[in-house]
């Protein structure tokens, strides 16, 4: 029977791998190479490869005195939860990975973390920022992104300070894990800052048109237009704002300008759009990790991917850096010990500080507020490294 052949072939393969596994560290890397998240996976793939090559070029990771090379076990989960879950099982029980990163986004991270938790395999998630992922009591799940709430608070405080005339806000969010949670955070932040919400709407995942929403926002005449979604939504939203002559003193799009595609696809229309993100190349950090500095990471990424890195690439590399540091500190590949080391980690990397809170999220960070000015992303915050002042959108 078919399965028997498959079984025996794979059993042999597994044995071979097991023998081989003594001197390498295997890290499972789920990638959505096909399906709705395919554009994100490419960035992750580049960042992971950069880290792996640098680590291996340096002889590997120091595990209690012996240098061990790393091997990435990559797999396409097709942007599909069922596939992601199966892939986690395969990586753990078949490929015998020691550690894992997680799929892109909060939803699929939940699915993979659920499997890994049962096996006690540490997972470092580079792109999950919704607290609903981390509030399920998983002990083996860590994330390099700060919670969504923090992002919005930082930005609201800055904007209301600098433009005290801003009194009303229109919120348009995508009905999806991360963008929705960002929309909800905005509602809370607006209330806390005393802003009036004049328009509040969610749009569905398969949305192909914003004209109805934008016409309504136009009629509401808000001081601040705040839209959440992924790049293709936001490019279209911005385009239709221009088509319909919708404008406001502040226009914020999350993630928006955090992605280079946003500017590439909008040209001039991208100007003066603000956003907040987890990482930007303009925030310079120096560190003793494999990259050494933000600039080193940026330059290599640019030459490899022929595109500017965004937070996805940086956070993906940072997740592996955190894992590396934890392994070195634990001095062993023992999963529980590495997990404890991750929990106790307090380091600065090219990506910024990483210190996982009680729920596993990387909380303690100052998040960059950005704006596109003359086709370039400039930092408005943190204060110490800001590159420009907030400009009015209209």
């Amino acid at each position: 029977m078919r399965l028997k052949h498959l079984l025996s072939a794979l059993a042999l393969g597994t044995l071979a791998i097991a023998a081989h596994a003594q001197n390498t560290i295997k890290i499972g890397a789920p990638l959505a190479l096909t399906g709705s998240l395919a554009d994100e996976a490419k960035k992750q793939q580049v960042a992971y490869a950069m880290w792996r090559d640098r680590v291996n070029a340096a002889g590997g990771i120091n595990v209690g005195g012996t240098k061990m090379k790393v091997e990435l076990v990559e797999s396409d989960y097709q942007s599909n939860a069922q596939r992601a879950q199966q892939m986690a099982e395969k990586m753990i029980s078949q490929d015998k990975v020691d550690f894992m990163t997680s799929p892109f986004g909060s939803g699929h991270t939940k699915v993979v973390a659920g499997v890994a938790e049962r096996y006690g395999v540490p997972v470092v998630a580079p792109s999950a920022s919704s607290e609903s992922v981390f509030d399920q009591g998983y002990k083996y799940l860590f994330g390099t992104l700060a919670p969504n709430g923090g992002l919005v608070q930082t930005m609201t405080k800055l904007f209301t300070q600098q433009m005290p005339n801003v009194k009303t806000v229109a919120i348009l969010g995508r009905e999806d894990v991360f963008p929705k949670s960002m929309a909800v955070s905005m509602q809370e932040a607006a209330k806390a800052a005393g802003l009036t919400i004049v328009h509040d709407e969610l749009y569905p995942v398969g949305n192909l048109d914003f004209s109805a929403s934008m016409s309504k926002i136009k009629a509401a005449k808000p001081d601040w237009i705040y839209v959440t979604g992924y790049d293709k939504d936001l490019i279209l939203a911005r385009k239709q704002m221009a088509d319909l002559g919708v404008t406001a003193p502040i226009v914020t799009m999350v993630t928006g300008p955090a992605y280079p595609e946003f500017i590439n696809n909008l040209g001039k229309l991208a100007d003066n759009v603000t956003s907040v993100t987890w990482w930007h190349q303009a925030t310079p950090y120096t560190a003793d990790d494999v990259f050494g500095s933000t600039k080193a990471f940026h330059d290599e990424y640019l030459s490899r991917a022929k595109a500017e890195p965004d937070y996805v690439g940086a956070s993906s590399a940072a997740a592996l850096v955190a894992l590396q540091k934890a392994i070195e500190k634990a001095g062993t590949l023992d999963k529980a010990k590495v997990r404890d080391a991750l929990a106790a980690l307090d380091i600065t990397t090219f990506y910024g500080p990483i210190k996982f809170g009680a729920n596993g999220m990387n909380a303690g960070r100052e998040l960059p507020v950005i704006q596109v000015q003359s086709g370039k992303v400039v930092l408005l915050y943190p204060e110490a490294i800001k590159q420009a002042e907030l400009k009015s959108f209209n």
């Binding site: 399906g35 398969g206 048109d209 109805a212 293709k232 319909l244 696809n265």
Partner: protein, 287 residues
């Protein structure tokens, strides 16, 4: 008042794009009796070709539109001639699965070759402002294209030799074959025309929407809805269906919120299927 005019304008502008998306799909459905799962990928492929010609060679998408159309005609012709024709008279499930398999291949290659990063041709043409009502020029062009495609197709089907052959095959395949029409070739040409229209639509859409392989399924879904609303296999039906869906989504989006727009569209489609399966325009269809 102007609000209403804007809502209607929004709906019609969106509807024109929808009509572009659906015309070719409808043709294949009507004549070949095949539900072509490749259609969304054809549109995206057209968009990519136009984008790269613009970004790397500086060719205007409005010129490229014709090149893309020709290229996709050829691709469509070959796919039909080489593969689908072999099972074209088999049940819908079989041909559908075949085009689904073909779509996996095309999709995967586009994904690897072009990558899924969204890409848009940043020719911002601005809008025509009549009072407070704004009509974006690119969507006006889409409307023109949709009308032109429907018109040309209508004319071709009525007046040209190949058009008459297509109509004959659509009415009675066996009789057409007896009359000496090479049915397989007609099928391949029809499929080619459909792919051509998808390609032209994609080239134009690249100006309006960011093109990415992620949207293939979405576009296909819209084509489905539009065809059902307009009438399966009816070419003018695709135009009417597109405009109707655009208006419905525009009003639903305004009154109920964006979230309800798609739901209302789907519910309308289900109701129509049950009450008036031939669609708004369709006669007794192509049966």
């Amino acid at each position: 008042m102007e609000t209403y005019i804007q809502i209607i304008a929004n709906g019609l502008m969106l509807g024109a794009l929808y009509a572009c998306i659906a015309v070719g799909f409808s043709l294949v459905w009507g004549v070949l009796n095949v539900i072509n799962m490749l259609h969304g990928s054809f549109i995206v492929l057209g968009g990519y070709l136009a984008f790269f010609a613009w970004a790397q060679l500086g060719v205007s998408p409005f010129v490229m539109l014709f090149v893309v159309a020709a290229a996709l005609f050829l691709l469509g012709f070959l796919i039909q001639y080489g593969a689908i024709n072999r099972v074209v008279s088999k049940p819908v499930l079989l041909t559908l699965t075949l085009t689904f398999g073909l779509d996996l291949i095309l999709y995967n290659f586009m994904n690897v070759v072009f990558e899924a990063t969204p890409r848009r041709i940043t020719l911002d043409l601005g809008s025509l402002g009549i009072g407070e009502v704004m009509l974006p020029y690119d969507r006006l062009l889409a409307m023109l294209l949709a009308l032109a495609m429907t018109g040309i197709l209508y004319w071709v089907l009525r007046s040209s030799r190949i058009g008459r052959a297509i109509v004959a095959v659509r009415m009675d395949r066996d009789a057409a074959a007896l009359m000496g029409i090479r049915v397989n070739k007609v099928y391949a040409i029809t499929f080619g025309i459909s792919a051509m229209m998808a390609g032209a639509c994609g080239a134009l859409m690249a100006v309006v929407y960011p093109i990415t392989t992620n949207t293939t399924g979405l576009l296909l879904g819209k084509a489905f809805t539009i065809c059902v609303i307009g009438g399966l296999g009816s070419v003018p039906g695709a135009l009417v269906g597109g405009l109707a869906l655009g208006l419905i989504e525009s009003f639903a989006g305004t009154w109920l919120g964006a979230q309800y727009a798609i739901l209302i569209g789907s519910l309308l489609m289900l109701t129509l299927l049950m009450v008036r399966p031939t669609g708004l325009i369709g006669k007794r269809g192509y049966e």
